[in-house]
């Protein structure tokens, strides 16, 4: 196996290089961007991010927990307040709403950490500080025999640099 590391200047070129690589069957690749560019992200992986499932589950857990907590606590030690029912739903909407947002937000954070693989760890071998400047990186793992094709594809999309780093 070999690794081809390339550096791009523009997101449109990066995205088109990634699309072409994937069309040719080179799926084992990673992109690095200094800022969010949907075209690059879509080219690398067109599937929608599963973070939304986390948000949904968090929000639903929050609203259920919020109402369940209030209703149970009001009934567990019933005290008549202002002539209202013990478990009086309208005022419970406030805390129910706040917990929906709270858990929705926390679950979104967990979703980002899990889906994005974010935890204090060593960086990828081919990651470079240039990718947190204004340049884009495309790192492709391929067979030895495919190196020249990959290199040609990358150069064809105006890669600034293409380097075969290990084999």
């Amino acid at each position: 196996m070999a690794t081809v590391v390339s550096v791009f200047e523009l997101p449109s070129k990066t995205a088109s290089a990634v699309r072409k690589l994937k069309d040719r069957g080179f799926d084992d690749l990673t992109t690095y961007s200094p800022a969010p560019f949907p075209e690059v992200e879509e080219a690398e992986d067109p599937k929608p991010s599963p973070v939304r499932v986390f948000t949904l589950v968090g929000g639903l857990s929050g609203v259920v927990l919020g109402f369940a907590m209030q209703i149970w606590m009001s009934l567990e030690w019933p005290i008549k307040i202002a002539g209202k029912a013990f478990a009086s739903i309208p005022p419970f909407w406030i805390v129910g709403f706040e917990l929906t947002i709270l858990l929705g937000g926390f679950f979104t954070l967990f979703g980002l950490l899990i889906v994005g693989g974010l935890y204090p760890r060593r960086l990828d071998k081919h990651y470079s500080p240039r990718f947190s400047a204004e340049e884009f990186g495309v790192v492709v793992n391929c067979e030895q025999r495919d190196i020249s094709e990959v290199e040609m594809l990358l150069r064809g999309e105006s890669a600034k640099e293409v380097t075969v780093v290990d084999s």
């Binding site: 560019f37 992200e41 929608p48 929000g59 406030i94 994005g116 060593r122 500080p129 600034k160």
Partner: protein, 453 residues
């Protein structure tokens, strides 16, 4: 946690990796600590220490020293609490609501405003605790199984407030941190020594890969969706602390939108008050341009006008209702013992900002700075007027009283500004005050599309 060798080690040395201008300019303010900065930080810390000493004295002697006496038991602490919560609204508004509206100009100001939100909420959150006589019993507000076999009263607006403020604080911190991660990674790549270790831990292995950016963008979008109703709800809930009671001047249905508009108005004024000197001191003129200040000025003008409408509506409804208590309450606001604060509120919040109709003034930064200072003062007076005038003269003349601010309260207000400033000053040296990745997004987009944006 030594970072691994970067690609720079393995790639051709012919082309030296050059850094982006945005990284260099925006990270620069975090380096070094010149003496004016250290002096300001020292003043802020001294201000916090004096407030802590005064509060220890208050906790020992009792709330009487803070001027708590019949009939006013909600004094400067609650006024300042509402003031700081209001300040905390601008950050989320800029980050969440303007994000959903795709207002790209927010990119340069959102980080500073988010930081301001977090620190303002941290300041506000202290006041309900300081306002308790036995402040160590604050945990009674949390529903937890206890020996008294009692649960909290979920029908009380004060408890709604506990949930609203703590949710707002948590979500603001999450939002702030998520936005910071890519920038912390950029700082990690450029730091050395202990700073590098700290940024490496905080950056959580961020590399800007496709899946990371996709998850990040999605998280920001979802958090914006969650934070938008939240930011509108928080000051609504705070307003219900007042509006749910039957005190004349408080029992009004307009309170929620009135408070939210006021909060956004005051928050934007504080953002300008903070960003104008930051821009000048750290030479960020290239990133915080007249265009940003003009847009924020327009927001000030809009929210000031909404506030003006709310003030008018309050007085109109008091008159139109035919309720004697309401009418006399509002009459006393204008011509009673607290007339000065009412007129300050109207002039600073509604009259002065009308000058922003003049385009030249919207980009005149010394003028904006002065105007925003008066708006902040006016917003503090707004809460003073609402709380003090209503409480000092309720239904029974026998319980009427006159409120005078105590020296303890003044020391705590000063302490709160110092506490806020201390955190903001520390933030300036730890993290970039402008969201670097968002600025780079605009720069690269422009480069890619031939300067069409």
């Amino acid at each position: 946690m030594t970072p691994p060798p970067g690609m720079a080690d393995t790639m051709s040395p012919l082309e030296r990796p050059r850094d982006s201008r945005a990284n260099i300019d925006i990270i620069a303010p975090t380096k070094g600590a010149p003496w004016p900065y250290l002096m300001m930080l020292a003043i802020a810390i001294i201000g916090v220490i004096q407030a802590v000493i005064i509060l220890a004295y208050q906790a020992y002697v009792g709330l009487g020293v803070a001027g708590y006496q019949q009939p006013i038991f909600w004094g400067v602490y609650i006024i300042t609490f509402v003031f700081w919560i209001g300040i905390g609204h601008a950050g989320t508004l800029i980050s969440a609501i303007l994000f959903l509206f795709r207002a790209k100009w927010r990119n340069a100001v959102n980080r500073g405003a988010e930081a301001l939100t977090v620190f303002a909420v941290m300041t506000a959150g202290l006041f309900p605790i300081l306002h308790l006589g036995r402040l160590w019993k604050v945990y009674f507000l949390i529903p937890y199984p206890n020996q008294r076999q009692l649960w909290v009263n979920f029908k009380s607006p004060l408890l709604w407030d506990v949930f609203a403020i703590s949710t707002y604080a948590s979500i603001s911190i999450v939002f702030f941190y998520i936005g910071l991660i890519p920038d912390i990674a950029a700082m990690r790549d450029r730091a050395t020594g202990g700073k590098k270790v700290a940024y490496t831990i905080l950056a959580l292995g961020w590399q800007g890969t496709g899946p990371q950016w996709k998850a990040h963008s999605r998280s920001v979008l979802h958090l914006s969706g969650l934070a938008t109703p939240l930011v509108l709800s928080v000051h609504s809930v705070v307003s219900w602390d007042f509006a749910m009671s039957i005190v004349p001047g408080w029992h009004a249905t307009i309170f929620a939108p009135y408070f939210v508009a006021g909060a956004v108005f005051g928050g934007f004024a504080m953002v300008l008050n903070v960003l104008i000197p930051v821009r000048r001191i750290f030479r960020l003129e290239k990133y915080l341009t007249n265009y940003h200040f003009e847009n924020m000025s327009k927001f000030l003008l809009l929210t000031s006008t909404i506030c003006g409408y709310a003030y008018f509506a309050e007085y109109f409804i008091a008159w139109y209702s035919g309720v004697e208590f309401e009418q006399s309450s509002f009459w006393l606001r204008l011509f009673g013992p607290y007339w000065l604060s009412t007129w300050c509120m109207i002039i600073f919040n509604v009259v002065f900002p009308q000058l922003l109709w003049i385009k030249r003034l919207r980009t005149n930064l010394p003028f904006l700075f002065g105007l925003c200072f008066f708006i902040n003062l006016g917003m503090w007076f707004e809460r003073y007027v609402i709380i003090i005038t209503s409480l000092s003269r309720e239904y029974i003349p026998g319980t009427w009283g006159l409120y005078i601010i105590s020296p303890v309260e003044i020391a705590v207000i000063v302490g709160s500004f110092c506490w806020f400033s201390m955190w903001f000053l520390l933030f300036l040296k730890a993290f970039p005050v402008i969201a670097i990745s968002e600025v780079k997004e605009l720069i690269i987009h422009e480069k890619d599309h031939g300067g069409s944006h």
